[in-house]
Amino acid sequence: MLHTDAPGNTRQNGRWSSIVLIVKMLLTVAWRNLLRNRRRSVIVFISIVVGITAVMFNDGLSIGMISQMLENSIGSHVSHIQIHAKGFNDNRVIQNNMATPSEVENVLRDTPGIAHWSPRVVSFGLLSSALNSSGGVIVGVDPEREQDVTTIRRSIVEGSYLTGAPREVVIARRLADKLQVGLGDKVVGMASALSGDVGSDLFRVTGIFETVSSEFDKAYMFTSIDNARSMLELEDRVLEYAVIVRDINEVEDIAASLRSKLGDEYEVLTYIDLLPILVSQVDMYQSMMYVVYLIIALAMIFGIINTMLMSVFERIQEFGVLMAIGMRVRRIFLMVLLEAGMLGVLGTAVGLLLGSGLLLLFSHIGIDFSIFSEGLTSFGVGAVIYPRLTPDTILNVLIIIPLTTVLGAVYPAVRAMRLQPVAAIRYV
């Protein structure tokens, strides 16, 4: 009766189906072993969850901070793409101007993917009030167009934005403080005009704006483009077009398209060309993030090695019996890996949920770093940082952490594999 149903005859032939069977059974064993050592499992589990939350926060804050820096620069004046006469960016003199702006404007109108653009006259000069003077940047803008390209209008904290009337200026807060001017006060601007003479004009402060970048706030003053043109004898020439694209991911393609349409007499620069230091900082932050991953992963690996070694040594006899009944050592190896892998996967799942939840929450309310605010504004960040949850972070955690736990189990699993069944069984 016992031999009629010999398993040898009914054995499954499929290699995969038998692997599935084994993994299923081993998962059961692994899970129950984790439960058997609940305290130890919980400690490892918590350390994984905390580790993940920490790296996610580190990622989120770094990305949030650097993105804010970049976006603040883009938003306050840089924009996505700038078009100049060839050579202007390296030699910012008004002789490097665009004499036929309509040519550029036709191209801008004809190029898909562009959301907004604005012509500018940019000049470095001396600004003086009745009480003080300072070097600064005088930017002449088309008030209507500029408000779609930069955040100046939204950054006004006192008075009002440019209406297009003559002699109006809006001036950055720190610059206003330095010149000791307020709303309605006069400011004289002086700069080198096209002819080489010094052009000057009198302006009246109609608005004061404030941004998170102290560098920007120390230097910039906006007026209408016609004012600036007349002061600098530029007639209808333009020094700079600032362009905002619809999709930032297409910025390089759009720039390339503009370049080919405009030809050699112009330079088309993206924010990546214009903010090389900031962009390289993004790369730096990214590599720094991997250092943090490495540190966390190392700490985790040692935790796992320690835990799994304990677990293996506690079960030497069990492994001996498994070998005696004919379990291949490779499967024993797999069994130990699965146990650690299970902890890793569970920890990762919970850690990801917790980390993502917290990041999403703080990405709305922000984290106030007011105490360090002076330092942050000099970086152009602002006192409140909004951490960001990016797919990159999730992907990194998803791959690195479970891999780390499994990696940590390799050595203990090799130790289990190397046990000699007899020695294991005799071990009492």
Binding site: M1, L2, H3, D5, A6, P7, G8, T10, R11, Q12, S17, S18, L21, I22, M25, T28, V29, R32, N33, L35, R36, Q317, E318, V321, L322, M323, A324, I325, G326, M327, R328, V329, R330, R331, Q420, P421, V422, I425, R426
Partner: protein, 231 residues
């Protein structure tokens, strides 16, 4: 039919550099259906001999044939496969995987052969029924008595239809009534299925049931005779 043959097997352990000659030259042939007890004082080499017969350990010298094939030439995996298919083990204690129930422990061995879940379950139930321990199916080892655990170990040992069961002092941790019970069971398996049983023991009641009795002394066979059970 011959199932195990040992030719001039020696085993020397090293005890911190000092050689310990556990077996000094064993010639032995076991045939299908035997019910053999290896007896002898403690330290005489019983466990060592049994481990070598079960390919859990390698001889230092001499040859071991399992079903006429020399195990000296087999890989670790081939030996594992052989143990899985042809051998069943019952140890003195700690036989079972602690986190699995009796049923799962029995199934585990079949799982290693790749038998699917339904067949596994049916077969495990069949064996538990045959050994009259169905009520233990869902109990874990720590919820069972020593005797119950040993019975489950027997169930696991026979479930893959091996040709040989090796049992190292299976009754050593059991009271005599429980031990007798376990032996009844193994005798029944031997009778009904012509399963080969090889025990090591110095327990009187095991020796009394031997149909072949091999007595070891200082790593040598001192006596090899038909046991009292056959007389």
């Amino acid at each position: 039919m011959e199932v195990i043959r040992l030719e001039n097997v020696e085993k020397t352990y090293s005890d911190n550099g000092v050689p310990v000659h556990a077996l000094r030259g064993i010639d032995l042939r076991i045939t299908q259906g035997e019910f053999t007890v290896i007896a002898g004082p403690s330290g005489s080499g019983k466990t060592t001999l049994l481990n070598i017969m079960g390919a859990l350990d390698r001889a230092s010298k001499g040859k071991v044939f399992l079903e006429k094939e020399s195990i000296g030439e087999k890989s670790r995996d081939e030996i594992s496969a052989f143990r899985l298919e042809k051998l069943g083990f019952v140890f003195q204690a700690y036989n079972l995987i602690p986190v699995l129930t009796a049923m799962e422990n029995v199934e585990f061995t079949m799982m290693l052969l790749g038998i699917d879940e339904k067949q596994r379950r049916d077969r495990a139930r069949e064996v538990l029924r045959e050994l009259d321990i169905e009520e233990l199916a869902n109990k874990r080892p720590n919820e069972m008595s020593g005797g119950q655990q040993q019975r489950v170990a027997v169930a696991r040992a026979i479930v893959n239809n091996p040709s040989i069961i090796l049992a190292d002092e299976p009754t050593a941790n059991l009271d005599s009534a429980t031990g007798a019970n376990l032996l009844d069971l193994m005798e029944k398996m031997n009778r009904d299925h012509n399963l080969t049983f090889i025990f090591s023991s110095h327990d009187r009641q095991v020796i009394d049931r031997a149909r072949r009795l091999i007595i070891l002394k200082d790593g040598l066979i001192a006596e090899d005779r038909n046991g009292s059970a056959e007389a």
